[in-house]
Symmetry: C2
C-alpha cells in the first residue's frame, strides 16, 4: 500500500513537479534520504530523471522542498484537527492520519540523516515539548534534556517501522497498525515504569557521572538558536 502525500487527489491530476515531490517524500521516508536515488524517484513519479533536476535543481534542493512541504502539511493537519474541535486527543489522533503518518516517517529519516532544516525542525519539536510539559504541570529535573529525549523517543518509533512491525506482527504503516503502536505509546506514558526507589538509585548513580564533568552540571545555559 502506498500513501499519497497529496491527500485524496489522483496521481494523474497532479503536475509532474508535485508528483516528483510526492514520490521523493515517500521514497525518502521508506529508504532513507541517502539511499534514495534520483532515478528511482523519477521512475516512481513516471518522469525522466532529468526532469527532477529541471524542477528542483539538485537532490539537496529536492530534499529542502520535501522538508518545507512536510512541515506545511503537518501544520495543515494540526490546524484541521484543531479547528474541528478534536483538541481532546489531537496529540495522538493527528498521527493516525495517513498523510501525517508518512510525514512523521519522513521527518524521522530527516533527523537521522541530518541537515540544517532537520535540526531547526527538531528544535521546534523540543520547544513544543517543553511547552507541553510545562502546560501539563510536569517539572523534570532537567527540562531540556527531558524534552530532547522525549522527542527522540517518539521519533524513534517512526524511524524503525520495519522492526516494530515485525515484532508486533502488524504493519505500522497501515492506519490500524499505527493506531495499535500509538496505543502502546499511550500505555507507556500513562503509567510509571520505575518505582520511586528504582528511579532514585539510578539518579544517584548517574549523577555521580554527571557531577564528574565540568560541564555536566550546567543545565540552563542559553539555547543554541532561539
Amino acid at each position: 500500500m502506498t500513501i499519497d502525500p497529496g491527500g485524496d487527489r489522483a496521481p494523474e491530476d497532479l503536475t509532474a513537479r508535485a508528483r516528483i515531490r510526492d514520490a521523493a517524500l515517500r521514497i525518502f521516508a521508506d529508504r532513507g534520504i541517502d539511499q534514495a536515488t534520483i532515478r528511482e524517484i523519477a521512475k516512481a513519479a513516471g518522469v525522466s530523471s532529468g526532469l527532477v533536476r529541471h524542477h528542483f535543481g539538485s537532490k539537496e534542493a529536492l530534499r529542502d522542498a520535501c522538508d518545507a512541504y512536510a512541515v506545511e502539511r503537518m501544520n495543515q493537519i494540526r490546524q484541521q484537527i484543531f479547528t474541528e474541535g478534536r483538541s481532546r486527543d489531537q496529540a495522538f489522533m493527528g498521527t493516525v492520519h495517513p498523510v501525517a503518518m508518512l510525514m512523521q516517517r519522513y521527518l524521522a529519516r530527516s533527523f537521522l540523516d541530518g541537515s540544517e532544516a532537520a535540526a531547526a525542525r527538531f528544535d521546534d519539536m523540543v520547544r513544543l515539548s517543553e511547552q507541553w510539559l510545562t502546560d501539563h504541570g510536569i517539572v523534570p529535573r532537567d527540562l531540556r534534556a527531558y524534552a530532547a529525549v522525549f522527542v527522540v523517543m517518539q521519533m524513534g518509533v517512526f524511524a524503525m517501522p520495519e522492526q516494530v512491525s515485525r515484532a508486533m506482527g502488524a504493519d505500522v504503516r497501515t492506519p490500524e497498525g499505527n493506531a495499535r503502536m500509538l496505543a502502546a505509546m499511550v500505555d507507556i506514558f500513562a503509567h510509571p515504569l520505575l518505582t520511586p526507589e528504582e528511579a532514585a538509585m539510578s539518579f544517584e548513580a548517574l549523577d555521580r557521572f554527571i557531577a564528574r564533568s565540568p560541564e555536566g552540571g550546567a543545565r540552563n545555559e542559553a539555547r543554541p538558536k532561539e
Copy 2:
C-alpha cells in the same frame, strides 16, 4: 574523542584484523552502515582497503563480524556488571560504560539499516523487555506492542545522538552527556506523562481505528521466529 571498542588496549597492540573491526564498528555507528566506506574504515585502521577484504571478504561479512562482536561485548559487560553485584541499577548503569555506549549506537544504526542479524537482535531485546515488564508486575493492554515500542523508544535515543546533543547542549557521546541523557530517560519512565483521563480518551479514539481492522484486534498470535 574516539572510543576504542576493544576497551583499554592500545591500538598498536591489536592485530590488524581487530583494528579493522574496531574502526568499522565505530564508523558504522557514527555514519551509518551504508554511508561508511571500506576505504574510510581502512584508513581509520591504518591499513589498505584490500586488507579489509582479505580479512573479511566483503562489506556485508565485515558487518556480520561487527554484529557478532557487538553482541559479545554487550554480553561481557552485562555479565561483568552482574557479577560485580551492581544489579540494582544494571539496566541503566551498563549503558554509561564507554564501550556499551558505542555498541548501543552501533546497534541502533544496525536496526535502522536492517539485516537478518539486526532483526534477530531486536527480537531478543523485545523478549528481554517483555520479561522485564512481567517481572516488574507491569501488565500492558498489548504486551507485544508495548515491548516493541519500548525498545524502539530506547534505541531511538541512541540513533539520533547529534540531535539530542545539540538540543541538550552537551555531547551524549561522552560518558557525562550520556549519563545526563539517561537520567532524563529515567525521569521520563519514573512518572506518568498522561493523566488517566487523557489516556482513556486516547485509548478510546485509537481503539476505534484498531477495531476497524480485521487483524488489528488479534494480539496474541504466535511470535514470528521464537
